[in-house]
Point group: D4
Chain length 214, copies 8
């Protein structure tokens, strides 16, 4: 086959191989998914279109598609979640695809997740009414586009690690998400780190590693 | 002389000629200031060093230096201020030179000013205790460096025009203030506009024009 | 529903929630518009396609589409406009979509508007014959692409606040509007502030706040 | 005083106020340090020169200077460290100032630290001989300049969160650290997040929050 | 015809004219290929679509298409390859189109090639098991996207020239391949040089010149 | 010697070798100037400091220094100027060093020059009172920093070629002159071309070639 | 109508109004062309598609389309050309659309033109065999993409003004033509100026003004 | 000591450890050099100041300083050079420091070198008179700043690998060497690869590996 599954990766890094569907054909994703299905490996595919899901569902009965997250998930056994949870916070409705990618990935890796959505800084009272839920998390993922200000505000209010995810939401001087990325890297609040633009997957991987620390 | 004073500018634009001292020698600023002094024109010099002030004070007795703002000011008659005020809000202590440049300029143009300093988003409770004073202004200047998030938070809480001033405060991915500038241009709060990096002067000019609208 | 309407926003910020249609499906915009219509909230949708308008018009009879501005507007009662007006000045014909977005937004917020179009600096006599109308405004929005020079010229001729809107009009070294944006931020005329590239909406929001100052 | 100490910050965010000495005069740092000393607050000053240390030591007897890290530290009581440790890994000798800033900050926050230095990818055998110590950490800080490749290699070998710190070490197309920053954000290994260029302090803050999770 | 074949180029530079199909129509490529076929010149077309191949195959019977490399090749006589080989190393499966363009070009120029694929730094053990084959090459082409770290690791392990090819694989802060390009230019390993993003062709040209040095 | 004088250059290109003093020591410039003096070649040195001039004047008696332009000039015979003139227009006083470099270079190449200074767009009436002199030129050099708008305004008013010179004057988002450069390249007026930032020398070279066309 | 024809422009600037078709609909271009046709104004439309030409030809019988240049031209009387010619030099076949736009524009403005194509620096002997024709021109337009080196080579060989036109031809690090633009601005040959990326029209406008100087 | 010498590097990579003096103190370089001297390791220090050399010469008698290259060299035995040579070609006099760094490094690694200097494209006849020497080399290093055109011209004339070194020579839009770097990466001549800005050292390392291939 064209791609070898790095089966030792889960043990080595705490994160199994995951199918990144962007730039792959329906047939390619289908074939990889089928192989994983038959070998008894749990499946997560990110950046998957509706069409790709149609291909996968033929060979992996029971696969679940989240159209907003663009993820396909399949577990051979019931997925047992942690008791501690990861908070996934999103600023605006346009940031939800990235937030949902983080949620699906975190769940897939066995983490309980709480969603706190539509709490952007332009109406900051919405955030304050949700702070208890945010503060109760073990680690917090904050997803925001445009000026990327939300992680700073949250970072100043919690004593938990914050992983900031810039999104490409916006236009003009948002430069495809670079503006939010730069803003987050310059946060005046301590305890914040940043992942690539639109990388909900990467944020959830790190959050999962943190959440599972004993 | 090497520079002609555009004396019609005040009438034409509501803002008189001002001396921008950066890149001028002590002698040049001194000479311009002296000419203005003798012609009965009020004087504002920005980006002035201590050394330049020493030169000006010799020819303009009574000139006042604000070392943080790096401004020199002289009025022939007492400067009468408006009853409505401009709020000048600053995020961190490193942003004060820019904020003070705005304050001095606004005062020079005849505007009453209220300072609200050290209310950055990393400790947002500090901002909330000052919101009444901010809301009472006719127009609000918000000065911030690093991730430039403060104008968005304030913009979502007031019904007054907000003029955002990015500062070059920070390092690395702050890119000399470009990050704060981009963030402010992408604010998710409506009613915000932006001036050049470190341009406290320009913000105060526009705020002054707004404050004096009848 | 997928998006909560921030109904307190009008009171808090002077600007109500507005539907930003870019990246939303026809069904999503239709659904939000219908909810607003039924709750008695006035409707403005920006960046709306002809197709989206077809959807909205089914549930909001009487909604009006401006195809150049790409806006949909609906008022429950007659929209009462201010006596003072906002001047919306545009450099070239390609800048008109952005200018019209500003006009529609300003009108929606209750402001009288005067249009001054096709007065770019390459034929500056066209501008001079319109200066009286421009000078008569309470606040001036100037829309320009390419080298973005028009706000500087106007800023040097008026004593009113100027809000500059760079557009993405041009090619090559215009860098999708970044060139006009940078030029406007560096204007040698005082009293100018800037909003994001193509952001006619944002300029009108700030202009509206200024125009309604008592 | 010119700066208010945000005394609630430690409780709120798990990280106390710290003195960022860059852009402050010797007198300013001295004054802040003295106030903290007298109020019984532990002191960490970063980006401090030898000269600034001379000022601080006069008012804070017992303050300790790390000239490579450019930090000044003072504890009122013995600093009790965690049993779990943070690994601080550095690629080259020129990256040590940033690595040491991370070490000093992590120690100041009460974390045990292990240093693993001079293990850059150009001689990757040096890294492999230290992998046991790295794998034993609860969280790993990886400091690298130039092409910023080290976090990817380590990220592929461990199941612990990796915080990557790009440094400004290099010349030409390193663009003052932007190259290493971009590379780290695009790491092909999962479980990595990134902080600002040269921001050893920020990496240690987040690592400290993670290390103290129960 | 619209394009003159620079027939002296092979003798002058060691590399014959090659058809760069991007931006050319099916008819244009077909016509050039036919002319070369009839004049007895060997044919390599890069960046060719399936459709362009259909056009060429009508006039050049026996032309061979590599759909991954997007190359069309035709030799009038059997292509004799060197005994020494060029190693073409690729980090991930998404980098294969660029790697295959290098392979096809190197073969076309008469060089034996060994492929070493899917050995990216996120699972570095995969690389080590192939090092003997890599070390045996006369010159090594290393193709990688995202953070572009692979050339540095290989460069530190071999005493042969390494030509690094950044790919545009990735998203967000990968900036269309600029991140990998910058990283490779800043490699901490000596003996590495770099070609343009996605330029497998160019890397193979230089590698071919090196491999044929006596 | 360390540098060979390309003596055929004048004949070949219409422009003789000129000494670019930046990055050269006093001794190096002195030595080149002396050699030119003794060989009977006229001398122009650009970017020369006062100190370098002191060196040159020892070996080239009669050499003339323009401290604003930072040029040193020496002619063996009286320099005969053209009857047609080049207009050198400058926006602000800070642009004068670049404008003067253009003037000195144009004069050195035998061109008559008219200076039109301090006519920036923020007070555009100043420009109109000088338009006759500008229109009378054979070719026009326009020097401007900040938003670089002046060439567009002039280009729309004349039927002569305009060569635009961006300057590095400004701060923040002027990006060291890149903003003015980009603006000028995007001029909406036709008939304008652009040279490098601060390159008064280059503008004068091209203007000289144009002015001498018969 | 939606666009006013600036009929004084020809007299004022030596260059008449021209239709820039990009971003205009077939109907819009058709309508403007018809109005010009009926008023007796000569027509040049640039960036016109085949489809737009079909629209124009219905209302302007005799209009001529150059599909490579993407220009439509119509003259009411025979177009009389100058005796002196403009040389239009192009590096590669992919640069021809831009070169042809320059040729069509120059012709439209009444200038004789000589084409010198496919003389890029990778096979520099091709250039030398054409130098006499190039040297005979009054002004030279040089069109090149990729590394943009051709204007420097030509600039060092002629005593005529050179106008350099960067093209967007290339991929990866060519950054859409920015690389060629920057290279041309930094030419080590004197007497060169530059226009925007792909701006064959602008180069021809300036060249026309120069060619018609008496 | 603060830095471990990677003594296996020579055998592993064909290139020994070299002292990069930038950012190191006189004492640090002195100490490393002394240790190498005493252990019998040959010494090359790059980016060394006159002052650093004074330090080294005290502990390494016989060390040789090249002030233009800023290199210090010491061989324990006579350095035997190859019979085949590397050509080091430089465009302008300002590029010589980088060219000389390449020469010194290549010599240090045992390669014979031929210098071909001051052959920039602005006077291309100078290049042609040296082409035989260039063509006779086994591998060619081409050093150029500004528009970086020289490698393309040479690459089109030889059948040997060309390694291009951009320099930071220039100003304004040269962007500290980025312009030359980008230009070289986009060369229209095949067989060229590129190293970092000003990296004469790196070019010589790769050229040395190529030159020693059997
Ligand atoms: N054209 C526009 N440009 C920028 N912001 C807009 C625009 N139109 C609407 N908005 C803002 O976007 C908000 C709605 O965003 P959303 O919740 O994503 O629909 C509105 O309340 C406005 O503040
Ligand atoms: N994939 C490629 N990337 C870069 N250059 C190429 C590529 N394929 C062919 N070329 C070059 O482009 C030339 C043909 O260009 P053209 O005359 O436009 O067809 C060839 O002779 C090669 O030097
Ligand atoms: N101010 C300047 N800006 C750009 N190029 C210049 C300038 N002054 C001189 N030159 C060019 O630089 C060449 C000399 O370069 P060099 O050999 O380094 O002294 C001259 O022949 C001119 O072509
Ligand atoms: N001029 C130079 N440019 C780039 N890398 C260099 C240079 N000189 C030495 N190096 C590299 O830097 C390494 C030493 O780095 P360090 O351990 O920081 O002294 C050497 O082994 C070389 O690989
Ligand atoms: Mg909303
Ligand atoms: Mg002035
Ligand atoms: Mg504080
Ligand atoms: Mg894989
Ligand atoms: Mg028009
Ligand atoms: Mg060709
Ligand atoms: Mg070392
Ligand atoms: Mg020279």
């Amino acid at each position: 086959g064209f791609a070898k599954i790095d089966s030792g990766r889960l043990e080595r890094t705490g994160i199994p191989e995951v199918i990144y569907s962007a730039g792959k054909t329906k047939e390619q994703v289908q074939q990889i998914a089928e192989r994983m299905y038959k070998t008894g490996i749990d499946i997560l595919a990110t950046r998957a279109s509706e069409e790709i899901f149609q291909g996968v569902t033929q060979v992996v009965p029971g696969a679940v598609f989240n159209p907003q997250a663009k993820t396909i998930v399949y577990h051979h056994k019931t997925n047992k979640l942690t008791k501690d949870y990861i908070a996934v916070v999103a600023a605006g409705t346009s940031d939800l695809p990235v937030a949902e990618e983080a949620v699906e990935t975190a769940n897939f890796l066995g983490n309980k997740v709480e969603r706190i959505y539509d709490v952007g800084v332009a109406g900051i009272h919405r955030l304050f009414s949700r702070m208890d839920l945010i503060r109760g998390a073990r680690v917090i993922i904050v997803v925001a586009g445009m000026e990327g200000a939300l992680p700073s505000v949250i970072g100043g209010l919690v004593d938990k690690p914050v992983i900031a995810v810039p999104t490409s939401v916006g236009y003009g001087a948002n430069l495809g998400g670079v503006t939010a990325l730069l803003a987050m890297l310059n946060s005046c609040a301590a305890g914040i780190s940043v992942v690539n633009i639109d990388n909900g997957f990467g944020a959830a991987c790190q959050a999962g590693l943190i959440n599972k620390l004993k």
